[in-house]
């Protein structure tokens, strides 16, 4: 079962780490985690994907839904440290045109 570790940086940015396979079975839980953060007023979110071994289109769907919630609340969602497998899925669906993964968690909100 996939785990979602959540922590908050000193700048008040929430970091979510999906550990394992982010597939259709896990997508809804990720969406709930993201919605929960936004509901708590933590609307600047980084999804750190270094330990995400697999990502499918349902996982992408959850990221997009989280992006929508965060932006509607005036914040943003950034994706950081994608593995090669994750990058491939981003480019396959052209989602990299919309959402560019960042190289580090620390710099994800630097611009």
């Amino acid at each position: 079962m996939i785990e979602f570790a959540v922590e908050t940086t000193p700048q008040g940015i929430a970091v979510v780490r999906p550990q394992g396979r982010l597939n259709m079975a896990a997508a809804r839980r990720l969406k709930e985690v993201l919605d929960g953060l936004v509901g708590d007023g933590r609307n600047r979110i980084v999804v750190d994907m270094e330990e995400t071994t697999f990502l499918d289109s349902s996982g992408l769907g959850a990221l997009i839904a989280g992006l929508k919630s965060a932006r509607q609340a005036g914040g943003d969602l950034r994706v950081a440290r994608p593995t090669e497998a994750v990058r491939t899925v981003f480019s396959l669906t052209n989602l990299d045109r919309v959402l560019k993964p960042r190289d580090t968690v620390e710099d994800a909100f630097d611009d």
């Binding site: 289109s57 669906t93 919309v98 959402l99």
Partner: protein, 657 residues
Amino acid sequence: MGLRLWVIRIVVLVTAILGINYVVWRWLASVNWDAWWIAVPLVVAETYSLVDSLLFGLTMWRCRDRGEPPEPEPDLTVDVLIATYNEPIDLVMRTARAAAAIHYPHRTWVLDDGARPEMKAAAEAEGIGWITRSEDWSGKARHAKAGNLNNALLMTDGEFLLILDADQVPLPEILDRTLGYFRDPRMALVQTPQWFENVPADDPLGSQAPLFYGPIQQGKDGWNAAFFCGSNAVIRREALMQLGVSRYAGEVEAGVRRALRTARSVLRRARKDLTGDDQMVRAALDAIEFDLRRAQQELDAGEALMDVTYRFQQRVAAVRREMVAADLTALESDLAAIAELDDLAGDGVGLDLDALDKLSAREYSPLGAVETVQALIEAVDVDLGGEAQPIMPMATISVTEDMATCMRIHGLGWRTAYHDEVLAHGLAPEDLATMLTQRLRWAQGTMQVMLRENPLVQRRLTWPQRLMYFSTMWSYLSGFAAIVYLAAPIVYLTLGILPVQALSTEFFIRLVPFLVVNQLLFFIVADGRPTWRGQQYSLALFPTWIRSVTSAVGNVVFGRSLDFAVTPKTKQESDRRPWHLVRPQLWAIVALVLAAVIGVVRMSTGHANVPGTLFNIVWVGFDLAIFSVIIKAVRYRGFDPAAEQPPSIIRARRGAA
């Protein structure tokens, strides 16, 4: 390759050669230009029929019988989804119980778009899941069945989805017989036939589609273009979600670019109205315009959209805070215009980008302009035009979501399969009114796809795939040809005007062999399946087909409503025979009979020649045979099981494919 396919190919080739030979000769050497008003429509109608025949031949060229399906892999996760809106609870539960009893392990869900508490209670009492629209949909475009499925997609998580209409009762082996095809990792969808158990053997309403759910789908399958038909199909979730995500990416990009352009013209107008002493405001507008230009450049340079719009929004917010102090006066009237942005999502076909242009045409105060710019960008980058879900895998461009969705899945490079075995028993309409509504809806949906996403220009489809989709659309244009085929013999018999130069030997030598091989092709392809009913309805429902085209053009081009109606699944009680529904056809029958009488009188009084009259009377006879089905349909009183043989005979034959 089997002998049967070789025979089919030879007959296809001969049909094509004879057909082209005939129609080319018709255009070049035999049109009676003096009577162009009937001669030209006739030769155009004949050309239409030739193209129809050529497309049919192309379909049959690679007719593919898949035979026994592969064994499914064990431990796949499957959700069985039963879509319902307002069908009676009993009818839905009959399907739901059968779905729960499917052998392969799965979960069963009733997708209740009516959000009926009694539906929920009935489903949950038997351990069947119940899903209705989430909060996200309130106040948003609902997109009918496509929206219902899109909603359920995000509430379930099986790897595969079996889609069923509320009146399609599945057999227990339906998943065992279809999941095996997904051993191919690129296989997205497996469609099985729609077959109806409440239809008498002579099928007065033409409910069964034995040619479509059989040779035609098998032919399309040969070109990797087997269609999704909305029910009785298994779909790979990943294919649908990939479609949803990649369409989201494409639509956001198109929307943001359009919004940036509109924003610049809004600003330009606001600046024109500035008086000379508004130095501070002018500087603010300059700053925003600079940012707009920069955003456009960043997009062109390949930066990610969300980064560009996020930065842009942050800067605009800063400028706006400065301006609020400077300009509070003219804000009120602009707020109304900004509110209009909420309506952009409009009437259900995604974001209406044209509506953005309307906003740029009105007058704004400087602050209003800035607010508008901000709202414009937000409307597209976050909300995607006010859709309930950013991801909409099932296409919403048409009232029949299945064909458009399938075409897009093919565009992504996935495969589909048609498995020719009846694995669900459906209920067909039992009265003419319901049947006509249903046919109209299918035809309208197909026309909407043709007008909105013409398959011929879809670059990601192979040419045969484009033609397979186009072929189905083309066949719905038959209503116009039918009118000409009715008018031509009537014109000759009553007025003596011949649309061809002469009914010469040459004419018959070219026409008759073509007609014969064309029917031979049907006969071979059908392989014992009845095809006459289908041929009758393709001409006899001409008012429905014509209305589908005009209403779809009205909808897509002029934004009018389709008068969309959900097909009722229960019989509409009425004792009166519904002659009023087929008035145009009845007039046609009267006109044909009168014309034949007049023709005979003219011939026997020496006013018309004998072969010409006889030929046209044969033609009238053919037209009457076609239209006789209308009388049969009106007189049909619904299905009487006692009068029928058990349907197992048909099932066994088709199952043994």
